[in-house]
Symmetry: C2
DNA sequence: TTGTAAGCGTTATCAA
DNA sequence: TTGATAACGCTTACAA
């Protein structure tokens, strides 16, 4: 069980470690004979080069940090999957960190990644660490790519969705048939939530639909707060007849709340940013803004790879890729 | 942007690198004065110790490989989350690898992890690399913990669910009311699928319900194959009036298929292993075997930590933790 | 309480 | 075409 190193292989094969290294990395000249013996010895000893030593020597970890608020959320994992797929093609590995949406854990995760000397960071932030992250982006010398969520004043590439336009379109749809429209909103510091609220509110305004404060519920993107939101709306003297929800979890909570209140699931019309699995199955009176996690992940990967390739050429200005979303009417 | 090392800190603080190291690791004696200057210098230079160098020197990567067939599957990610949470408490980081259920990618992932010198591996296998994995477990000298899925003949700890008993219970329930029961099964080499099929088949046998070959559809656990399965059943001269499905994705496909065939979603009674998000919302004539990813993940973590702690004391025999599942009737 | 220096397993430079 | 050998950034005996 003794761990076997390049020296053991060298000894067994009767060559120097330098030669082993050359065949391992296809670098420099190696005679065909030597190459064969070496490969055979490697196989026989079941030798695997130590990536840690290699990283140290080459000053390249070949790792990319991926920092997410919720790894059980399929949206982020679909995004990560397409990202990781592209990274692998470039010989990079993703190091995933789950922040649980908590600012302290986010900072801890980022610090850990800096110590691991990741070559880049992909971040869907909590929105609550902007100054620290800005400093880190400046000081680290590695590229950051923001995904899904923007962070104001952070000079990094971005891959995200067209939140405002899509929310506008979906809310405008509701406005054609309703005069009392509620909005399940999210925290102000999460850019996606804010943009979707802004887009929807603008649509209502343009359609001449009033939006009293009591029709905007400030939730936190969780199922539970969606439930609270609809229950709150239902208490109102004149409850909304339609609701726009800024994310799918809150939409789900909305339905839980309706059921809890003994209302039919189609007793109100709903437009939701983000899909619900069952929408195709039962979806009545439900419009969906379909998101494109795969495209966002791929875009992020492209930005990353490009940035890594041009690392030496100095920073340049940051790029932003927006992927269009699709509004699907039921 | 020059990268700053322990030497820079030593120079700035006017001490040796050894002393820096001592305060960094809280090891050995350091005068209070020195400690303060050093911490201040670290702060000022914004120094972060290089985890790679540390790993190399200490021969401890503090990383655990986590190999999964599908990172977009919430079941596996819930499992991973509780696993990771516990790992972090022990100063370990998870290195996630998605195999897409593909044996070649699985091997590639495992090889990569061995090169990274992970201290342990948590694996939900494809079931198609048993000999190679057995060899790796023997040769690597690091603990493996299998999660969710067993691998025959692989001497490793295991944390999994009570598949057979739960499937038995759920199918017995159906057998009380039906005589024509179909089963949406999975690949034979995935232990969970096989055990659930076995449990269900046994229940039917004991209840005296016939199970002709045409009532067992060999799917692959995907949504698409669930759809195919139900459509195939519906073609039968005498279609089943109830179906037991070995996982939630296939169950979802079943409903898609029903809808496609123009049948009402409650035109047949269904028992499903694994939850569907909407089951609480619409769930009629649907029984669920609720799984416990959190518990499995936690159990895996415990096994891992224990194994790591006793690493020097030789192997010992492998342990298996089974977490009980709950059958929820609608 | 502190410093010196040897290594951890590689890669890369320089000679041979 | 190959081999010595000096790093990479850290930890850790061992001395002082």
């Amino acid at each position: 069980m003794k761990k076997i190193t390049i020296k053991d292989v060298a000894q067994e094969a009767g060559v120097s470690t330098a030669t082993i290294s050359r065949v391992l990395n296809n670098t420099g000249y190696v005679s065909e004979g030597a190459r064969r013996t070496i490969l055979e010895t490697i196989e026989r000893l079941n030798y695997r080069p130590n990536a840690i030593a290699r990283s140290l020597k080459q000053d390249r970890s070949r790792m990319v940090g991926i920092v997410l608020p919720d790894m059980t959320n399929p949206y982020f994992m679909k995004l990560s999957r397409s990202l990781q797929k592209r990274l692998r093609q470039s010989g990079l590995h993703g190091m995933f960190m789950d922040t649980y949406g908590d600012p302290d854990m986010e900072l801890e995760a980022l610090n850990g990644l800096m110590m691991m000397r990741v070559e880049a960071v992909v971040l869907a932030g909590t929105g609550r660490n902007v100054p620290a992250i800005r400093k880190m982006v400046r000081g680290s010398g590695i590229p950051f790519v923001l995904v899904d969520r923007k962070l104001p004043g952070v000079a990094a590439d971005l891959a995200a969705e067209e939140n405002e336009a899509a929310a506008h379109e979906a809310a405008a749809e509701l406005a054609q048939r309703h005069e009392a429209i509620g909005i399940l909103a999210g925290p102000d510091w999460i850019s996606t939530a804010r943009e979707r609220l802004d887009g929807a509110a603008a649509a209502l305004r343009e359609a001449g639909v009033a939006l009293p404060a009591s029709y905007v519920f400030a939730g936190d993107l969780t199922r539970e707060s969606g439930r609270e939101g609809i229950l709150t709306f239902l208490q109102l003297p004149k409850p909304p007849t339609a609701v726009f929800s800024v994310n799918n979890e809150m939409t789900f909570g909305l339905y839980l709340g309706l059921r809890e209140a003994g209302k039919a699931l189609d007793s109100i019309e709903v437009a939701s940013f983000g899909d619900l699995e069952f929408s195709g199955l039962f979806g009545h009176r439900l419009s969906i803004v379909e998101q494109c996690p795969d495209e966002v992940g791929q875009a992020a990967a492209e930005l990353l790879i490009r940035r890594l390739a041009h690392a030496e050429k100095g920073e340049g200005t940051e790029s932003r890729t927006f992927v269009p979303t699709l509004v699907r009417k039921w």
